[in-house]
Each structure stands twice: as C-alpha cells, then as structure tokens.
Symmetry: C2
Subunit: 236 residues, 2 copies
C-alpha cells in the first residue's frame, strides 16, 4: 500500500507523529504538501476530493480512504505497520495512551497561544507567561509522571509492553519538550528514568535514526507546536 500524507510544510507539527510511524516502519509514502505545495490539501478541506472531508491536517490517504486526526490515523495504520498489538483489548489501550499524549500536545500549543491561535504570540505574551507557569509546575509533572508510571506498570520498557506507535509519539513529545522547556526538563528528567531510556531506544531504532539524520526531519522552530521562548521556561 502506498500512503499519501498531507500536512503543512515548514513545521513538524502534528504531522510528525504520523511521519515517525511511517518512517519507523519503512512504509512507502509521499509527503504530499512537501512535493506539491500546501494547496494540494485544499480540495480535501473543501470536501471536493475523493475519500472524505478532514477537519484539518494531518490526514492520510490510503487507497480511496481519507483518515484525519493523529490518533485515528495511528490506529488505522497500527496493525498494517505492525505498530500496535492486534488484539482489540490492546489496541484500545494504545488509543487511550495516544489521546493522553494528544491532550498534552494541545495544552503545550495553548501555552504559547492561550487567547487565540489566530493571533500573534507577541499579542498574548503576558498571558502565555502566566499559563506557562502552570504548565511547568503542574501539568508537565502530572502528565510525564503518568507516562513514567505506565512504563513501570508494563515491565519498564514500553507503556504498552511492546514497541508501538505510542513509543514513537512519546519520543516526539519528549524531544519537543526538551526543545521548548530546556530548563524545566533538566529538572524533571531525574524523576523520569524509564522515559529517558525509552527516548534513547527509540532514537536508535534503524528507521527512526535514518529519518532523524535525513533532510526530511525538519528542526523544531518558532512556528510549530513546540516553541522555545526563553520567557516561558524556568527550572520550576
């Protein structure tokens, strides 16, 4: 199966969670907007393209089917790419972990855009500074502590007992947080030894390592979800 991935050019964004799964599995895919430009997504968003009307990128086209929403795409790809257990009871565990990652990702985005995604950061900077304090002090320890506990509960290596798309998404989440909150993460890492080891193992997987070393892996930047604004970081 050849896959078409549709996501904005210029940022890692939410598309990166899907891209990592495709790269880890060595799947055959085309990153459509990078090849044809962002406008290639317009007919889908307007509901005039074959296969469905996604609300927003990222979305994936597989044959005639269009699937949107990161967790839905990963659930769809998981069995074929061998990135999730086949048993229904385990697949649903993977979805719920992915959705908890997605919740934190949404909170991370709103940390630098607490008032309106459509307005400039500079116009909501004081509100962002206030929100970042609660993100660093309350939300990051709660979410990351949860994932650490989940890895511990499942044998110490994975939150799902075996390699899955959840591991890849945790890697991306942790890499993004290291970029966005370097001071805060330096203080949190000693409490997260299992996640630290998981992140290292994922980085060394052949498909992931090759991808990270390629030009296809964009750098984190000030347009994506994870943005490094020094005024939003701090040790506590």
């Amino acid at each position: 199966m050849h896959y078409e991935l549709y996501y904005w050019t210029g940022i890692q964004g939410r598309g990166e969670f899907v891209r990592l799964a495709l790269e880890d599995a060595g799947a055959d895919y085309t990153d459509m907007a990078r090849v044809h430009g962002d406008a290639v997504m317009d007919p889908f968003l307007a509901g005039t393209a074959e296969g469905g009307r996604p609300f927003a990128p990222p979305f994936l086209k597989a044959g005639r089917q269009v699937v949107a929403q990161v967790a839905a795409i990963l659930d769809f790809l998981g069995p074929t790419l061998d990135l999730v257990p086949h048993a229904a009871s385990r697949r649903v565990q993977a979805i719920q972990l992915q959705l908890t990652i997605a919740d934190l990702v949404a909170e991370v985005h709103d940390t630098h855009h607490p008032i309106a995604a459509s307005q400039y950061y500079e116009d909501q900077k004081s509100e962002a500074i206030a929100r970042a304090a609660s993100m660093r002090g309350e939300r990051l320890p709660k979410f990351l502590g949860y994932f650490e506990d989940m890895v511990k509960d499942n044998g110490g290596r994975h939150p799902l007992r075996e390699h899955s798309y959840v591991d890849l998404s945790l890697f991306q989440l942790l890499a993004g947080l290291d970029y966005m909150f370097p001071q805060r993460m330096r203080a949190l890492w000693p409490r997260l030894p299992l996640l630290a080891a998981l992140k290292e193992r994922v980085e060394k997987r052949p498909g992931v390592a090759a991808y990270l070393a390629s030009e296809r892996r964009l750098a984190f930047n000030a347009n994506g979800i994870f943005r490094h604004y020094p005024e939003l970081d701090g040790p506590e």
Copy 2:
C-alpha cells in the same frame, strides 16, 4: 455485559458523552461514583486497581478491562452497543469525528480557563473574555460549519450515514453550547439547519428522551465544561 462507569459526581462533564451512549443503547451499567462516592476512583488513578491505570475520569470497566478517554471508550463500546458501523473503514471515520468534537470540547473548557484549570475563573476572567471573542467569532463557526457539512455530505441526517455515538456526542455538544453561549448560538443556528434537525431527532430517541427526563441527567452548571458566564457570550 455489566459496565461500570467512573466519573466525577456533580457535573455532566466528559462523562456525559459516555453516559448518553449507555443510556441510548439501554446498556446495563452502574454510575460508580454516584453510588459509592468519588473516592471509588482513587485506586484506579493510583494504579492499584485491576485493569489499568487511567490518566483521568471518565473511564469504563468492562469485565477486567479498564478503558479511559471518551473517544477510546466510545470506540470500545460502539460495536457491542450497535452505535458504530462494524466495518473498520467506517469505525475510523467515527473516531475521527469524535476526536474533532473532543477538540472543540477542550477549547470550550479553556475558554473559561485560558490560564490554568487549577485556578478560579474569577482570577482569569479578563483573559477568558478575550479568548471567548475568538471562540465565538472564529472557532464555533468553523467547527459547527464543518459538522453541518459532514451531515450534508452523508445524506443530510447523520455525519456517518447512520445513527452512531457521534450523533449522541453532537447532541451533547450542541446542548452545551446552547447553554453556554445562548446569544451566539441564536445567531448561528440559522446556518445549521441539518444539525438542528439532528439534535431534535436525538432528543426524541426513546433511550435518550427517558434519560433526559430522569434524575440521572444533571443540569448544566458552573462547575462543568459548558458554563454560562454572560460576559463570555454575545451575538458575534
């Protein structure tokens, strides 16, 4: 199968999306915290109960399995309760619609708590007023217009072509928005005739109608996701 639903007492909250599915299908379930108190959830959240460690309520226990996250719970229940098509290609469409509803629900919550969920509304009221303007002016038309389009694309009655848990969640979303933003919704409804008809049809389904008339249906209130603060509403 007897289900145990775990969710905070006193509010509809995210638990309501699961409750509506159980009630619509006439499922056999116990609303555990309402019977035993909120503390009944503690062992699960601490990871000491059988079946898994949810990040947060709502979660559902079915036999020995614990499932958390609304969209994961509904995907899990859907086939058994006949609330989703069985074909994998249609199930994934349902999940992605549900996740788009969940995205709007999260934005709705953050409208009255843009700085920190852990702080009082009164301490972030001016920021909430600013965020509510973008919610009313940009986000509600974008999301609700999308769902209206999806119903139109699929024959005019349902976003998925047949009754599903997505219809029930859209009903809850629209009821909540009517409560939270009565002025804004009065202005938007004329543009959403298919959603208006869908909402009326869902209200009249036997299981839903019986539930809404019962004491089990709590009223919307100022502790839930959908909160009516007059200063956050307006016609535009």
